[in-house]
């Protein structure tokens, strides 16, 4: 469990983190979302013990991250933003070094490194210089060093930055698997990533929490509207518009992009609690239209995000 209470950190005049509070429990993956400069990295650095807060409390497990910073650091695996590694080192030597620093007994080190090689897919990279690796492969090394001591708490600052789509889904799987029996906080500004990986989302803006909850909950809470996209052929455009508008519960109908000369696009808006799909299906049968397509738009987290963090 990681609990943050009224955390504040200023850099000169700038309030990077401003009375921030949230909590992550064991077995939860928390996604920290926010626009650039919202204070995500600062928050993670405070938890990892790299920065000292100006005010507030950080509780990691049973420990206070400010008072017992060394003990807390032992239990945390941390992947910093930009993943700074020693470029002159071979991957193997670097992992050996981190394993030693993390207090893994010399006899256990090989086994732990081998496990990390398997989990992070490093087998062909061990004898390469870190400086010669691609960004994606470097990210794997960064993840390996964060997990090598099997920490209870994982703090990952943009873990999938710079990875290709295959690697992203790999890393996501790793994180999801880890999240089952660890406490994970990851930051991102890629919303689909948070949607796919995290069981909870905290959106921060200008150093403050603006939303905290289940990704689905947030989506529903933010936009109270249901949108149906239709593709209809046979039937004159304005006639279709008029008929649709007369349906009870419809607030607005507009035309959207046509698929071809025959198949025309429409968008039907209604309050979220009204599901108009059966009515529209029957209506189109009755009116002799051919319904090529109908789907309900799910409000994206992106929209929620934009709504909450727009100035």
């Amino acid at each position: 469990m990681i609990r943050i209470e009224d955390l504040s950190k200023n850099f000169g005049q700038v309030k990077a983190v401003d009375t921030l509070s949230f909590e992550v429990s064991h077995g939860e993956i928390l996604g920290l979302l926010g626009p650039n400069g919202a204070g995500k990295t600062t928050t993670l650095r405070l938890i990892a013990g790299f920065l000292r807060p100006d005010a507030g409390r950080i509780q990691v497990g049973e420990m206070d991250a400010v008072e017992e910073t060394e003990q807390v650091r032992e239990k945390i695996g941390y992947l910093p933003e930009y993943n700074p590694l020693y470029h002159d080192f071979l991957v193997y030597d670097y992992l050996q070094y981190i394993a030693g620093m993390r207090g893994i007994a010399p006899l256990m080190r090989e086994a732990r490194i081998r496990e990390m090689v398997e989990v992070c897919g490093l087998s062909s990279l061990m004898d390469k210089k870190i400086g010669e690796l691609s960004k994606g492969n470097r990210q794997r090394v960064g993840l390996a060093q964060a997990m090598i001591h099997d920490p209870e708490f994982l703090i990952l600052d943009e873990p999938t930055a710079g990875l290709d789509p295959n690697q992203i889904s790999e890393i996501r799987n790793i994180i999801r698997r880890l999240g089952e029996h660890k406490t994970v906080i990851l930051s991102s500004h890629i919303l689909s990533e948070v949607e796919a990986t995290c069981s909870r989302v905290v959106i921060i803006h200008q150093g403050r929490v603006v939303a905290d909850g289940d990704p689905r909950e947030l989506q529903h809470g933010a936009v109270n509207e249901s949108r149906l996209h239709l593709k209809i052929a046979k039937g004159k455009s304005d006639q279709v518009l008029d008929t649709l508008k007369k349906l009870p519960g419809v607030t607005q109908v507009e035309t959207t992009q046509d698929e071809s000369a025959e198949i025309k696009g429409y968008l039907v808006r209604s309050p979220r609690e009204n599901d108009l799909r059966p009515e529209i299906f029957q209506l189109s049968n009755k009116s002799g239209w051919v319904l090529y397509e109908m789907h309900r738009e799910v409000v994206s987290l992106e929209e929620v995000f934009r709504k909450l963090t727009a100035n």
């Binding site: 650095r45 990892a48 013990g49 790299f50 920065l51 000292r52 049973e62 060394e70 003990q71 650091r73 032992e74 945390i76 941390y78 910093p80 930009y82 700074p84 590694l85 020693y86 470029h87 002159d88 080192f89 030597d93 070094y97 981190i98 030693g100 620093m101 993390r102 207090g103 060093q145």
Partner: protein, 263 residues
């Protein structure tokens, strides 16, 4: 967690984990210092700068030593020990310049400071690595007295003293270099600042004629050479050890203050 339960768990911990655990923890943290020092020393041999600096030092030291040896036919190490404080002034900041500024510049400093290691342990590890590198460089020049000893009997006291003095002086210069390395993310700036401070310590007792009489004693004491030359006479005085020890302590404290401000 309430204070009461906290106290209870603390008592429990201390009851079940007595001094043995404390000792184990101390050993564990010293192991980390050793691992860090090893890694830093290992990194030195990746970079050409280390070799270049080492070679330059050895070329100059060799020149000062052998010019005397061949031109005047004197079998002694005095010229080496007289010029060594000057050479060390270049060598020491060159060894330390990358220690912190490079980490700060590349961002790996963040990685380092989130490992379970206190700041003091981190600085100690770095300083030990620098000292080891210096000892290796100076160690090569042990070949001079060994060569000389084949020509006749040697007075080993001043030689051993001189080498110990080089290490003490080197330790002081290196901690100054470590301090300036914490000040900036630019290695060259760190080198120049380190050199400037070392040079000032060297110069302080060279300008005694400009200083009012009652201050001469203090300034003479501050000068680095006065203390170093005692070693080369084969005298190891606590006064000189305290002098070098205090330079190291002050530089160390300064480094800590500078790094603390980054938090």
């Amino acid at each position: 967690m309430s204070l009461k339960t906290k106290i209870a768990t603390l008592q429990e911990r201390t009851a079940s984990a007595p001094a043995a655990l404390e000792v184990a923890n101390i050993i564990k943290s010293w192991k980390r210092v050793a691992i860090l020092a090893k890694k830093e020393l290992y990194s030195y041999f990746f970079s050409p700068i280390a070799y270049v600096v080492m070679v330059i030092y050895l070329v100059f030291a060799g020149y000062f030593f052998f010019s005397r040896f061949f031109l005047f036919g004197q079998i002694e190490l005095r010229t080496y020990f007289v010029t060594a404080p000057l050479l060390l002034m270049f060598l020491a900041p060159a060894i330390t310049m990358r220690l912190l500024s490079e980490e700060i510049n590349t961002g790996s400093y963040e990685m380092l400071m989130t490992l379970p290691l206190t700041q003091t342990q981190m600085l100690l590890g770095k300083l030990l690595a620098a000292l080891a590198f210096l000892a290796i460089t100076i160690g090569v020049t042990l070949s001079y007295p060994l060569t000389l000893s084949t020509f006749g009997p040697m007075d080993w006291g001043p030689i051993i003293g001189g080498y110990l003095g080089l290490l003490a002086l080197g330790g002081a210069y290196l901690s100054i270099g470590l301090f300036t390395s914490a000040l900036t993310r630019n290695q060259i700036v760190a080198f120049i600042l380190g050199f400037a401070i070392c040079f000032m310590l060297f110069l302080v007792d060279k300008m005694l004629m400009f200083i009012p009489g009652f201050l001469v004693g203090i300034f003479e004491y501050l000068g680095v050479e006065y203390h170093f030359q005692n070693f080369t006479r084969g005298v190891i005085d606590t006064k000189d050890l305290i002098y070098f020890g205090s330079i190291i302590t002050v530089a160390f404290a300064g480094t800590r203050i500078v790094l603390e401000r980054r938090k």
